[in-house]
C-alpha cells in the first residue's frame, strides 16, 4: 500500500519580492514639506523655559548670539543655570542690594564673572554686552527693570527682548 504524499506549496528558493513603498513616500513628502516650513534659519536656537510664557510681537528680527537670560515667575536663569529665585513676581530681599533695591547681586556677580572669564571674554557678544532676555509676559515691568538695570551695570547694555511671532 502506497502512502499518499502530502502536497507542498511550490517555493522558489531565490525569489525576490517588491515592497510597495508608495504610501511611505507620500508620508515622507508631507513630513518634508512641514519640516521645511518650520526650518529655522536663525543663527541662534532659543529653547523657551517651560515655566515661561513669552509675549507676542510683530517683530521679525532673528536672534543673534548673546548671553541668554530667562526670567520666569519662579527663577532667574542664565542659560539653564539658576541665578536667583523669584517669588510673588519679585526677587527675594537677600538677593537685592540693601542700598539699591534694583540691584540683583547674584546676577551682577555672574555677568561680571562672564565678562572677566578667560574663555568667554574674547567673544564678540560679551565684548559688545549683548543680552537676550526671555521674560514671562505677566511679570510687572518693575521686576524686569531690575534685571535690565543690573545687566547694564555689569557692562551688558544691549538688550534684546525675545518674543513669539504673531498674536
Amino acid at each position: 500500500m502506497s502512502r499518499r504524499r502530502r502536497y507542498e506549496l511550490p517555493t522558489k528558493k531565490n525569489s525576490t519580492f517588491t515592497l510597495n513603498i508608495t504610501s511611505m513616500t507620500d508620508m515622507f513628502t508631507i513630513m518634508l514639506v512641514f519640516l521645511l516650513q518650520t526650518y529655522s534659519t536663525a543663527e541662534v536656537q532659543i529653547t523657551p523655559d517651560s515655566s515661561l510664557r513669552l509675549p507676542s510681537s510683530a517683530s521679525m528680527v532673528n536672534a543673534t548670539e548673546s548671553v541668554k537670560i530667562s526670567l520666569s515667575r519662579e527663577a532667574l536663569k542664565i542659560d539653564q543655570t539658576k541665578i536667583a529665585d523669584v517669588k510673588n513676581a519679585d526677587f527675594l530681599p537677600q538677593d537685592l542690594e540693601d542700598k539699591d533695591s534694583n540691584f540683583i547681586k547674584p546676577l551682577f556677580q555672574e555677568l561680571d564673572r562672564l565678562a572677566k572669564s578667560e574663555s568667554e571674554k574674547d567673544k564678540a557678544f560679551i565684548k559688545e554686552g549683548r543680552i537676550l532676555l526671555q521674560a514671562d509676559k505677566e511679570l510687572p515691568y518693575a521686576t524686569l527693570r531690575k534685571v535690565m538695570y543690573t545687566a547694564s551695570m555689569a557692562g551688558f547694555p544691549q538688550l534684546k527682548l525675545v518674543t513669539l511671532v504673531g498674536e
Partner: protein
Amino acid sequence: MSRRIRKIKIDHNGEFELDLAPLLAVMVKLVPVLLVSSAFVQMMVIESELPQVVNEAIQRQEQQPTPTNISIELETSGINIVVTDKGQDKVETIPMKNGAYDYETLHAKLVAVKKAHPDIFKLELHPDGKVPYDEVVKVMDAARQARDTNVKFPVFDTKQGKNVETNYMFPEIVFANMMEG
C-alpha cells in the same frame, strides 16, 4: 534569402513600476536633519535692524543740540504721549478702553505725531513699575512701524539727495526710566 525584420511590439497600455527606493533613502536622511533644525515655536527679538537711510537719520537726530523729544508714559490708568518741542510740552492722554489699553488709538496718534515730526525716530518709554511686560511689548509694537502699508514717512537720503519713504515710525525705543532709583 530574404532577411526578415522582426517587428518590435510596443505595448502602449502596459504598466511599469517606478523605483521609489532611492527617493525614500534621500527622505529618510533629510527628515532627521530637518527635525533637528526645526523651530516649532518661532521666536524673534525686538531690536533695531534698520535700513541704512533710517540709521543715518537717527544719527543726524542725535547730533542735534536741542532735539524734539517724544516720550510715552505708560501708566496703570492710561497712556500719555508727551511731545517736547522747543522746551514746550504737549501731552495727549489715551484713556483705558473697557479696562484695557487702547492700542488702536495709540497707534493712530503716534502716526499723527510722526507725520508732524518725520525726522524723529527715537522714542522714550516710561512704563510704570506695575504695568505687565506684555503691555510694554504691545506699546513698543504700536510705536515701531506703521501698520497700514500705505502710510509712509519721508526720510532724507543724503546719498540720493532726495526724500525716500519708509514705514518705520519710532524704531529706536529707549527705556528712559531704567536707571532711575
